[in-house]
């Protein structure tokens, strides 16, 4: 091959568009060719014009705070993370204590009005859900075989997120979601466990008014190497194969 052709491949490689055998052949050639290395460098400098042509967008301050914390854990993040703050079980623990407090309050509230009682009952129900979530999550967090995945919100629900704990040996797990929009009665969210490109149904759930939703994952088929999980919005009752928009996606 004439060297001119390697230089042409260097340009497409610099663009990130070289594929197939051409890419592997060029990478092998590049390892020992200073001329192509220089041409690749010059190509990348030229192509930077695309990045520099964009109207600038300023990142939020908390990214820098998170970053500085990551490279130097002794420095606490100076700015609290907002909607993207990580779920942490200690918060749930506090909720459990609050539940106990509320139950005591209810004991002393026998003589209060019916309206007050109903309001407190609602609060207790909410906190009891938190306690269940706590117990279930602790069970998986303390399981040495359990693995976790952070599910990110995609285009239909960019601010949503999910945390999944799953034991590959038992095939059981739990999914906690936050920020998913409330589904209509004719729809349901469906979790998918994915092995390679094959999605397997892993349970359905609805999102109501609560900020968190908990799904206990039933036993998934043995022998499959699930490494990704996704949540889609499907017709009520669920479907055997995904048909609706994907709201959450993450890898183990």
């Amino acid at each position: 091959m004439a060297h001119e052709e390697w230089l042409e491949r260097a340009e497409i490689f610099g663009l990130g568009a070289l594929d197939g055998d051409e890419r592997s052949q060029f990478e092998a050639h590049l390892a020992g060719c200073r001329v192509c290395e220089g041409h690749l460098r010059e190509t990348r400098e030229t192509l930077a014009v695309f990045a520099r042509s964009l109207a600038p967008v300023v990142p939020p301050q908390q990214v820098k705070a998170r970053l500085l914390h990551q490279i130097n854990p002794e420095v606490a993040p100076s700015i609290r993370e907002g909607t993207r703050s990580r779920w942490f079980p200690w918060g749930i623990s506090a909720g459990a204590f609050a539940a106990a407090g509320l139950l005591m309050t209810m004991t002393w509230s026998l003589y209060t009005t019916r309206q007050q009682l109903q309001r407190l009952q609602k609060e207790v129900a909410s906190i009891q859900t938190g306690s269940i979530l706590h117990e279930t999550s602790i069970q998986f967090l303390s399981d040495p075989h359990a693995r976790s995945a952070h599910l990110k919100g995609l285009a239909p629900s960019p601010d949503a997120m999910g945390h999944l704990l799953w034991n590959p040996e038992t095939g059981k797990g739990v999914l906690i979601t936050m920020g998913l929009p409330k589904n209509t009665p004719d729809k349901v969210y469906e979790l998918w466990a994915i092995a390679g490109d094959e999605p397997v149904p892993a349970g359905t759930f609805s999102v109501e008014d609560k900020p968190h939703t908990l799904l206990k994952i039933p036993s998934l088929p043995q022998g499959k190497s699930f490494d990704k999980f996704a949540v889609t919005l499907e017709p009520a009752g669920g479907v055997p194969k995904p048909t609706g928009p994907m709201h959450l996606l993450g890898s183990l």
Binding site: P59, L67, N72, G153, A230
Partner: protein, 187 residues
């Protein structure tokens, strides 16, 4: 002894290689807008762009000692890290979405919060846009599909229903033309 001129950003990277956190903070301030802007354009989801920005600078922190000015400008080095990571994410999502209903690109796109930049930055950006505007539309199209959308030459050929050879020619011609424009402006 002769005075040695050194690019300020190169100096910062050298300091970062010595685990200098203050230099790292300055380097972030210098390039974070560029990386985040590029990430928003490529990934189109703000949370993904924020994650990418963080990942890029963690890599910069860990690999600063591997940087050499002979291998390119700091800007091109950081952009290359950002693009490589963004393309990996795009291709991963694309592989996943083949099993699902494809998300329409316009719906996926999130609008970024553009900011007023300095007069010098605005002028530089206008010059870059002017350079791109001088490219024939067909050449600019294939370059943008590769640069921003992470498509390979074969994928672009398939999407545009054009022969692979035509796509390659347009890419190479576009890069050559862009190189000439950029060089003439720098001269």
């Amino acid at each position: 002894m002769s005075a040695q001129t050194i690019n300020p950003a190169t100096y910062l990277i050298q300091q970062v290689a010595q685990q200098d956190r203050e230099a790292f903070s300055q380097l972030y301030d210098r390039f974070s807008n560029l990386v985040f802007t590029l990430a928003m354009r490529m990934l189109r989801v703000r949370s993904d762009a924020e994650d990418l920005l963080q990942e890029v600078f963690v890599q910069v922190w860990r690999q600063a000692e591997n940087y050499s000015a002979e291998r390119g400008s700091p800007e091109a080095w950081i952009i290359n890290i950002a693009r490589s990571r963004a393309i990996d994410k795009i291709r991963s999502i694309r592989r996943m979405e083949k099993s699902f209903v494809l998300t329409d690109d316009p719906a996926r796109a999130e609008s970024g919060e553009n900011v007023e930049s300095s007069a010098a930055e605005s002028e530089a950006r206008l010059a870059m846009n002017s350079a791109l505007a001088n490219l024939p539309e067909a050449q600019r199209k294939v370059l943008e599909l590769a640069y921003f959308d992470g498509l390979t030459q074969s994928e672009i050929a398939e999407r545009l229903a054009e022969p692979l050879g035509t796509v390659k020619t347009r890419m190479r011609s576009g890069i050559q033309r862009l190189r000439e424009i950029v060089s003439s402006r720098a001269a």
